[in-house]
Subunit: 304 residues, 2 copies
Amino acid sequence: MLVCHKITELQEAIQAFRAKKSSVPIISVGFVPTMGYLHIGHESLLKKARSQNDLVVLSIFVNPLQFGPNEDFDTYPRNTEKDLELAKRAEVDMVFLPTVEEIYPQYPLATKITIGDISSRLCGASRPGHFDGVLTIVSKLFHIVQPNQAYFGQKDIQQVAIIEQMVQDLNMPVQIIACPTVREPDGLAFSSRNVYLEPDERSQAVILSKALKKVDEWLSLPDITVKQLEERLTLEINLAPLANIEYASILAYPALQPLIANVPIHHAEHSQLNQQVVIAVAVKFGQTRLIDNRIISLGGALHA
Amino acid sequence: MLVCHKITELQEAIQAFRAKKSSVPIISVGFVPTMGYLHIGHESLLKKARSQNDLVVLSIFVNPLQFGPNEDFDTYPRNTEKDLELAKRAEVDMVFLPTVEEIYPQYPLATKITIGDISSRLCGASRPGHFDGVLTIVSKLFHIVQPNQAYFGQKDIQQVAIIEQMVQDLNMPVQIIACPTVREPDGLAFSSRNVYLEPDERSQAVILSKALKKVDEWLSLPDITVKQLEERLTLEINLAPLANIEYASILAYPALQPLIANVPIHHAEHSQLNQQVVIAVAVKFGQTRLIDNRIISLGGALHA
């Protein structure tokens, strides 16, 4: 496994790999961009990438541009040694581990990638500029690695939707593959930020996945409206005394447009407009902000 | 010469070319993006591309996103037949001729590429959003064609500076090659918009290149300030009665930052700050807006 700290070093290695294999008609490069502190969720992305590509590239970079001034950039958990062990186990070929100066010789950049409405809702509402920072780093990494496939976790569903939109709008030659959320045995979605949770917060945090599961029951009520569903979700999460809800919302997916609040969710007005909706929650436990979501097909089967 | 109207058609053709030549270690693709109505200036870009690459791709697309609501998108001159003849003469391999719907299935796009200060000066001041539109289409075309080299005319110097900045900021894997402005025998820079000029406007339009040439004389005055140079430039252009100056400015290049107006241009304060300055003019003759420029190295040789 090759570990590169410099952009040119990585690009030369990938080019050499492509040249060496030039007898193979199409070399497929799979890419998993991360902020490190890897967990089983990341591992599942790497395994998927390994199974679908000739070359697997992992990047580990805590991107300052996607953190707000009062967010946890400085304290975001980091453990490169453990990350590299996991990468080796997952048979990663190349790890890109750049410094901030390597990625941002000037900071901030003059160039900015922004996206409309879709970035202003859900997490975008409380994290202004966050998704611009995500789009910029993802765009840079895509240009550096030039992958055929890139793998993202469905846990960060808004990130997936926004990156898909950028790739489509800008004709980026990469396929985005969204992978299912991986969960602890009790249902809590794996997240690098879970490490922040105090024991009582950790035990109550299970309410996110529990509440999202309960949606199945509520959806069996034929006339339940979007608003009523959101209210039930909110009530359910608030059963955990330490839970502090930031949002518990149902939106069309992948456009992330609001649905009509007082119209039954099973009404044709919704199922015509969108085949899919996302039920997304963001909840703070103490200082720790957790997110989770489910995508459901209206009138169809439920997706985990 | 292959003419493609569809993105997938072009991409498959380029991929097939790359695959066919897979014995050659590196296949070089040269790309000349244009808005058509090709003239000798474009031809010089195509010749340069032909001399440096295995495959030459020309795109012809009048990009609505870079025209303001009161600009000449609808009347911008078009002549595909003549363009294809010129492309054949220049030994272009592939011409990409997309429809607006092919490039913008949704219009406008959700995704936007913007760039700071550098886009607000010179042409950016009177054409808000113009350079965002340029960056977006160039980014799309780069992702579609995936060229190794892309060729632009130095006549559109702000466009060159802005695209260079985007490529650098976003690590785009393409080299930007700026080619010298090609001129009519009397000095007028070739432009697709020259066709709009009435005979008396055409004859007076020569004042742009004449005034830019006179800069050499003025620069020989050891204490001439930035402001004085701009004033002389303005006076000179105003000798043409039909000239209506939009700007006649001297800025650091490629940052396009203002210089200190009352400091002599040869002063160390300028030559330390920047090796190069651009002298740029935009002048209207009737409804027709013409631009021209020169880049000079302070304290060094002059560039045409």
